[in-house]
């Protein structure tokens, strides 16, 4: 039998009970819409996290110093200060794939100019730092290698800090006092926005790490380095090389634990997206359950339909329909039902995220994948839940079906 003719019969049968058809479809509509909406919310959250990770820079490798154990408590990586200036220079010298590396010295300090002052994070870094973090300058220039060697009293200030200290006025060329030491502002950093945990990345002052160690912290070791690999493909190779080099330099016996930690940007972003991924999967599963419930609704209504139309099935069998024709007819009816529901559900699923974004400000991202999957899934549900009623119809005995009252 021609599929087109079967489709016509199916559509007619569905139209005959328009209300029933609509209610049955509602299960699939809600299920499909929920899946698409949930996945788009998950994707939106993931995209946001990824965008934030991207502010870290490109092909970045973080090297953190090891643990300090105090009274039985580990203080976490970065607390021990096992990284030295010599480590920094060795990595820079011996691993050619590292295109840039910068030590990091962090401290909070009171910064003042004129009658304004604020407590701001001061980061001592190398001249490569801006390049590694893909951080542009809005005004002025970066400090030079020479400034670093000389522990020059120069500073780059973040957008927020500049606004706090100078208002809308010119920042470059001004003198700021960090812990009472006068530093000349040579550059204004471009705004970078909020970090993952909600910290303002622009409330910061960058100074040469040598200056920070000498004039601000008095520390002799580093808690972390930021390095950059030449390309994403080299990331894990560079990671291994750094690990080997540092183990060798720190004289760590084979089998013993590292006293430092090397993490690539990729690993960091993976860790960050893991949580949102788990959440998305969980919600999508719940939404998927409603799809299955919708499928059971279809099966239920198809069973009713088969019983109601037993006589019709008998007539069709009597005039020469094969079992397969009857099977196909009811299967197509079920699939039409679920696909129509799927299409309406997709429309609803595409509108819902827009409404959420507009009203709640949630980031959402409707992916073509989730639409395709929802569409195929609703078709599959039609076939799966339509098969049993259709087979029941196809296996009817023609005489009994004709006699059915």
């Amino acid at each position: 039998m021609i599929i087109l003719a079967t489709l016509r019969i199916a559509v007619r049968a569905l139209r005959r009970n328009a209300m029933r058809t609509l209610l049955t479809m509602l299960g699939i509509i809600i299920g499909v819409a929920a899946v698409i909406a949930v996945v788009s919310i998950g994707n939106g959250a993931k995209a946001q996290v990824e965008a934030q990770i991207a502010t870290l820079g490109r092909n970045v490798i973080l090297i953190l110093s090891g643990n300090v154990t105090r009274g039985g408590f580990r203080m976490g990586f970065g607390s021990a200060g096992t990284l030295t200036k010599e480590d920094y220079e060795a990595i820079r010298r011996e691993i050619p794939e590292v295109t840039g590396i910068s030590p990091e010295v962090r401290t909070m300090a009171q910064i003042a100019t004129g009658n304004q002052n604020n407590n701001v994070q001061v980061l001592g870094v190398g001249a490569d730092y801006l390049e590694i973090r893909s951080w542009a300058l809005a005004d002025g220039i970066n400090f030079s290698e020479q400034d670093v060697r000389n522990a020059a009293k120069v500073a780059l200030i973040g957008k927020t800090t500049a606004t706090t200290l100078f208002g809308d006025g010119q920042a470059v060329g001004q003198i700021i006092r960090i812990k009472n030491a006068p530093f000349t502002v040579v550059g204004l950093l471009a705004a970078k926005g909020m970090a993952m945990m909600g910290m303002d990345q622009d409330d910061i002052v960058l100074v040469p790490y040598t200056s920070a160690m000498k004039r601000l912290t008095g520390a002799t070791t580093f808690r972390s380095f930021s390095a950059q690999a030449a390309s994403p493909k080299l990331l894990s190779d560079v990671q291994n090389q750094i690990t080997d080099l540092l183990r060798q330099r720190h004289r760590i016996a084979p089998g013993a634990d590292d006293d430092f930690l090397v993490r690539t940007q990729e690993e960091i972003s993976q860790m960050a997206t893991e949580t949102s991924k788990v959440m998305t999967v969980l919600l999508a599963v719940i939404a998927g359950v409603s799809l299955v419930v919708g499928g059971i609704g279809i099966m239920n209504i198809m069973l009713v339909s088969v019983t109601e139309r037993t006589r019709e099935i008998g007539v069709r069998l009597a005039v020469g329909a094969r079992s397969r024709d009857i099977l196909l007819q009811f299967l197509i009816e079920a699939v039409t039902l679920s696909l129509l529901g799927g299409i309406v559900g997709i429309a609803a699923g595409m509108v819902t995220p827009r409404v959420l974004t507009a009203n709640l400000g949630w980031p959402t991202l409707v992916s073509a994948d989730s639409i395709a999957i929802a569409f195929l899934f609703s078709a599959a549900i039609g076939v799966f839940f339509g098969f049993y009623p259709a087979r029941k119809a196809a296996q009817l005995d023609p005489i009994e079906a004709l006699r059915y009252e």
């Binding site: 008998g314 069998l317 329909a321 094969r322």
Partner: protein, 253 residues
């Protein structure tokens, strides 16, 4: 010439609950092409069960059934369906039309299941021709609920004819119709028969049986009588007589 139907010692029993019912108990029958046979019998005589077997809707329990020389007992379910589709036309007492479906589409129904399939246009044309044959060309778009009983039965006959079958099976075709309409239906059958159609009709009305060429009488699952119709009725003649009678009592103008 090969008989259209050949039954050899056909038995059919079925179970209703615990009881086994011997509906047909050893029937042998031969129906030749272009015969018009009326099967008569009281209810429960096994005539409907025999019709179901002959119509390939059911299989015999024992015995053989040859349709045009082919042993039906050896055919698969699909082959039986194709046989019903191509070689046999059914007319039922209750018409069995699909409701909310036009007369034309009801007539097209068997062609939906024809293999190889027919083009839509061809289906439409053949259905229209079949409706014309039964005098319903002007009612093609009507739904069964908009048609009288006689008209519904004509649609059913058109449906039975549309695939140009060899055999027309009619189970109490006039059971739900008034006298005049019954005669009209018999007129259609006689015309078809004259054109070469083999017809097997179940009826319990003696008058209706007299339009056939041969009557077979069944009782308790067996054939107890089989003879040609001697004083055969002709539908046009009977219709004229009916009109005169109606005029006499002013039922018709």
């Amino acid at each position: 010439m090969i008989p259209v139907i050949e039954l050899h010692d056909l038995c059919k029993s079925y179970h209703t609950g615990e009881v086994e019912v011997q509906a047909v108990q050893g029937v042998s029958l031969e129906i030749r092409p272009e015969e018009f046979v009326a099967v008569m019998g009281a209810s429960g005589s096994g005539k409907s069960t025999m019709m179901n077997v002959i119509g390939c809707l059911d299989r015999p329990t024992t015995g053989r059934y040859l349709f045009e020389g082919v042993d039906v007992g050896e055919l698969s379910r699909d082959q039986l369906a194709d046989l019903r589709n191509q070689r046999i036309g059914f007319v039922f007492q209750g018409f069995n039309l699909l409701s909310r479906t036009s007369a034309l589409e009801n007539t097209e129904l068997p062609m939906l299941y024809s293999r190889p399939g027919l083009r839509m246009r061809e289906q439409r044309n053949r259905a229209a021709r079949a409706l014309e044959q039964v005098g319903l060309a002007d009612r093609a778009e009507h739904h069964p609920s908009q048609l009288s009983g006689g008209q519904q039965q004509r649609v059913a006959i058109a449906r039975a004819l549309v695939n140009q079958p060899r055999l027309l099976l009619a189970d109490e075709p006039t059971g739900n119709l008034d006298t005049r309409t019954s005669i009209e239906i018999m007129g259609i059958f006689q015309e078809l028969n004259r054109a070469g159609m083999t017809i097997l009709m179940v009826t319990h009305e003696l008058d209706i049986a007299r339009y056939a060429t041969r009557t077979v009488v069944m009782r308790d699952g067996r054939i107890v009588g089989d003879r040609p119709v001697t004083e055969r009725l002709q539908a046009p003649v009977e219709l004229r007589r009916l009109d005169q009678e109606h005029q006499a009592i002013q039922l018709a103008p």
